[in-house]
Symmetry: C2
Amino acid sequence: MPSYHAPVKDTQFVLQHVLNIQNYANLEGFADATPDTIAAILEQGAKFVEDVLQPLNQSGDQEGCTRHPDGTVTTPKGFKEAYQQYVDGGWGTLSAPVEFGGQGLPHVVSIAFNEYMISANMAFAMYPGLTHGAISSILVRGSEEQKKTYVPKMVSGEWLGTMNLTEPHCGTDLGLIRSKAEPQDDGSFKITGTKIFISSGDNDLGENIIHLVLAKIVGAPDNVKGISLFIVPKVLVNADGSLGARNAVSCGSIEHKMGIKGSATCVMNYDGATGYLVGEREKGLQAMFIMMNAARLGVGQQGMAIGEVAYQNAAAYAKDRIQGRALTGPQNPEAKADSILVHPDVRRMLLDARAFNEGARAFALWGGLLVDLAHKAQTEEERQQADDVISLMTPVIKGYLTDKGHETATNCQQVFGGHGYVEEWGMSQFVRDARIAMIYEGANGIQALDLVGRKLAQNGGRAIRGFFEMVSTLCAENKANADMAPLITPLEKSNGHLQAATMWLMQNGLANPNNAGAASYPYMQMMGLVCLGYLWAKMAKAAQDALAAGTEDETFYKNKIIVAKHFAERHLVETGSLLRKVEAGSETIMAMAANDF
Amino acid sequence: MPSYHAPVKDTQFVLQHVLNIQNYANLEGFADATPDTIAAILEQGAKFVEDVLQPLNQSGDQEGCTRHPDGTVTTPKGFKEAYQQYVDGGWGTLSAPVEFGGQGLPHVVSIAFNEYMISANMAFAMYPGLTHGAISSILVRGSEEQKKTYVPKMVSGEWLGTMNLTEPHCGTDLGLIRSKAEPQDDGSFKITGTKIFISSGDNDLGENIIHLVLAKIVGAPDNVKGISLFIVPKVLVNADGSLGARNAVSCGSIEHKMGIKGSATCVMNYDGATGYLVGEREKGLQAMFIMMNAARLGVGQQGMAIGEVAYQNAAAYAKDRIQGRALTGPQNPEAKADSILVHPDVRRMLLDARAFNEGARAFALWGGLLVDLAHKAQTEEERQQADDVISLMTPVIKGYLTDKGHETATNCQQVFGGHGYVEEWGMSQFVRDARIAMIYEGANGIQALDLVGRKLAQNGGRAIRGFFEMVSTLCAENKANADMAPLITPLEKSNGHLQAATMWLMQNGLANPNNAGAASYPYMQMMGLVCLGYLWAKMAKAAQDALAAGTEDETFYKNKIIVAKHFAERHLVETGSLLRKVEAGSETIMAMAANDF
């Protein structure tokens, strides 16, 4: 049975030595996030996920969710009790606003805890994850009354939330939505339609579920401009805040999926259900995008979080598995065989995993901090800059981290040989669970298109220019440092490749949008590599500084530098070939007639 | 529900236009393999797998195998009847020797049919696949009496075969085997021990199962040199060939696996079971390797065969799914949306799949032909040359084709968006089934090590030199052909990268074997790319020739050239980055202490 230990020390290294969040103590919420407070939260969070959530991961996968004939859904054994502990522990309140019952801590702190929860039990983590997305939409676009009515109970976790976009005939292209909203005399709407792939659409964890639903008000344009957003509670809420009648929304069936089986993925039927408009009419998509951008960071984190737990188990297996001999002669001559960790290729798989996981953790936490800074930084310029970077990075965090997280889990499964293929060992579940993150919240191809088709060009390319500047500055600052050369030289080279690819897109993508589309995926991969290379250089520098200052923990910092080098030698080098894929253009890709596929 | 149509035309294109098997009519068995005979076999084979095997694929996955309290195993509903049709149709006899009831056709013909069987139902195809492996070992190393007793019934398929290597504590390192063989007065042995991961270890498909079992004879060296090979029939065979008593071998349990659930993966308990020595004492490993080399080609084919069926379904979905608009403006303005095939990135996924599948098909069929030529070519020199190439290529076919086949299935699943994650659509099964091929018959890391540590250096590097010569000759011959330039120029460049990597290995791998180990995986990937690039160049040339000669089927050949270009632009370009990974060496990979993983 697989195990998991939350990497608290690694998280703290990134927060304190790389992102230096202590420097932001002057910003709202950050003053309370002292190193001691963060340490306490992370350690208690680690204990909660290790003791309560992780033991339910494999059993949850085996049992899955059950839909009953009355349309209610039961989560796997133990989930309800664990969720109650989540509520009682206030784990949903970390970075929620104080006025709605939250602790008002920086977003980056809840991002840090979120990783642990996903590693321990991704299916479980879906329930609070969706609730958080729903909260953000109501907070930004909801009326004061809506906030007061719904948000406190959602922050505490007593009520859960969902997002309802997809319909059987449309996922990405929301303009095709058929769900209808009929205005009622009291200002509410009757919502009718079918939504599919609704995570936590029904479940037995809380007292109520607040559905956020996209639909078209009768008479609205039948395209993407006619979409409005509605709150549709599972149980209607009385004026005094008590629960009233059951609303006309129910789960029609649940999907049998490849993974995250403990998360109920529902077909939701709205049969004239009472709904309340959120924000302005026909501005539903913008409201939903607030939720989706937050969700995309969380989904990106799912990739790395599963990569982490898969790595931990593969490393333990490799140390334990005694078989064969080192190529350079027996390392453990008194035994009949050496551990498989003597083999360079086994180490390659494990170091690839670490190079990705630790780099991706820094990326996700940086993303979390940027969200904070975009809202709370002192000057408009700083806020703008943070917003530029996080807007640019969101599709990369979502697309690149989920692709590589799944690949990492697959490689870690490989370390187990035949045992990796047997469900009992748990590696298959990590791979199956990680797979969905590449698909939902906008399939990764859509992320690539968002990056190339929208984010790059925004504000005349200000964000990408800012990013290149950031990387170049880091390189310039560390060029004279001989110890940093093995990291800085490849990073400069890869950053050059990314700049060349960007130039190619500017020259060829506008003239023929198919060139942009054809280049989008390798471009996103290049960007992911350069971002991780940038963060690895920062981590290596932080580790060098710690070593130079003297530390009791030399091994920890020396290993950071080894893994940074591995990233430079074995990951960053891919940008050269990716640039050639970008430059291949769209001629061949568009050449074949549709019927010939 | 997924569908499948055997790509008979593509197979024939490779056999007749690329491998030109009609040129070998002077060799044993080839005279009977006329284009008409092959066409008839492929068409009937297509019908059999499409009508009989494919409809059982998804139900077999859902139901899995069942072990009963008495140790017997039942295959999924319909498998037994389908297997009877396989036997009645003589599908196991294609390339088996005539004297044992086979049709004596070239091996490449059964390889061609094998692909279809795997695409239609990989779990089902495991049963005859293992039987064929067992047949080869007995044919090469068994006594005349053993051949007469076992082979005819195995060729017909009435009896099945298995290979028993792995034990709970050892897979790759067979020297650790604990199974014992005690000599009996009648010349037989009593076999005692436990074997795990035994595909088709027990099943209800035939009358008997002939287990080939590795064990150490009492008193033999307790290492890899002490291993002997035994035939252990499930039901003992009387002198007159009739079935006698049940032998003391039984299935202790079956594994719950990620995929190929219709294939029974058994723990086999040998409790003093009667066994018969195959070949010489303590030469068991060599005998088993005969079987494993044949099996490795078949496993490599599993990668591409699943890639093919995954592609077919993804292409059909992409044509059917109406959503969004082309980046260049509506292609289907009268509808509310275009098919997703208008998007360059969807085409990228599909063309990546085709570039791999069609290239890999050529690779597998070439491998099959080389097996034939290694045995049957007219001169010793030709036989030697074929043997050189197939020995070199076996780990590449196994390792590279299974990695890329799984990746292809994963990308094709991605085309389906959320539906790809729902079991009902069948794409998840392809991914889950394909995953095992990267692990069994020697995990892919072992294949890479076999390539770099054993095959490259054999006979002073004769085989790899021969391969470079082959690629260079093709390039030289077609350099002046302007239409071939988009394929030849990148191939020459990638071949240069592979030569540089080989040189690096010669210079650095002997001095420090960890350098060879650290370089092995990217080297295998480079080799896979150059092999496919070589075969794509040959296919493009064959297509050009057909177009120049005039054909009714211009589209077919023109599409071959488009896909060849896609391979050159989007796959071959990876060798540059892979070379840098090879040249990274082992210093960083070996730097971290084992305890720090």
